[in-house]
Amino acid sequence: MSPAVRLLAALLAGGLFGGGLALSGMINPAIVLGFLDIAGGQWNPNLAAVMIAAIPVAAGLFYLARLTRPANQVPSTPKRQIDWKLIVGAALFGIGWGLAGICPGPALVDVTIDGRFLVFALPMIVGLALGNRLRA
């Protein structure tokens, strides 16, 4: 595929993803925290529907991609490698997500809506850069 087609496809896929984040409520920290608050009296389970819908749709398209494209043109599933970096990284990520109710995709959307989110997004970029160093 030509580079222009690839870039357009990437932009449209990103747009569809961002539209899904906005429609679902994922970009709103209060809704996310309401979903994570399973023990509280105000638990809002709606966001479970995001994963319930996203996973089978993605799985179906991954399957079709593997059927229709040569194996070297779609990413293969990584080998099982469950080490301390995966566990500690996921735990730290989860704590941060639970503190603010914001994960990376919504962070990139929210900063374009309200500049206050830079207080979250800029340290996030610093964290990504630090993580890059540790992985290298």
């Binding site: 539209g19 984040l21 389970p45 989860g94 639970g98 990376p104 964290g127 990504l128």
Partner: protein
């Protein structure tokens, strides 16, 4: 418990869009829609791959802007203090990079292809996030 049909249906449709976007990105571009990994790669040396990832990331706010006009245009509420937000951002970025993925890469793409790494990572970050919220509500 708070449950409402509109919120549930919006989440279901939004989730289907997220899954479709991740699936198409995989199919057409041959890439995993992992947002933390793609954002982190913008901080390294640029190539065509990086431009392709940047195109996806630029699409995020554009698509969100369009869909916010379609009804679910509720104001974004943040209750955390700036210091908490800054700490949270640092943990989210660093943790996602160290653990090789976040809610999109592990939680959607990884689970959709039954990656053992992603199943473990998702279980860990969901538990950690829920525990964090529960502990804070007692403090």
């Amino acid at each position: 418990m708070i449950w409402n049909e509109t919120g549930f249906l919006n989440a279901l449709l939004g989730g289907a869009m997220i899954g479709a976007a991740a699936g198409l990105f995989f199919w057409i571009n041959g890439r995993i829609a992992g947002i933390s990994g793609m954002t982190a790669s913008l901080l390294t040396r640029w190539s065509f791959d990086t431009v392709e990832k940047a195109a996806f990331l630029i699409g995020l706010p554009l698509g969100a802007f369009l869909f916010r006009q379609l009804g679910s245009d509720t104001p974004l509420t943040v209750n955390a203090s700036p210091a908490t937000l800054a700490m949270a951002g640092l943990l989210v970025g660093f943790g996602a990079r160290l653990g090789n993925g976040c809610t999109s890469g592990h939680g959607v793409c990884g689970l959709a292809r039954l990656s053992p790494n992603s199943i473990v990572a998702t279980a860990v970050f969901m538990s950690a996030a829920m525990a964090c919220v529960a502990i804070r509500s007692f403090l």
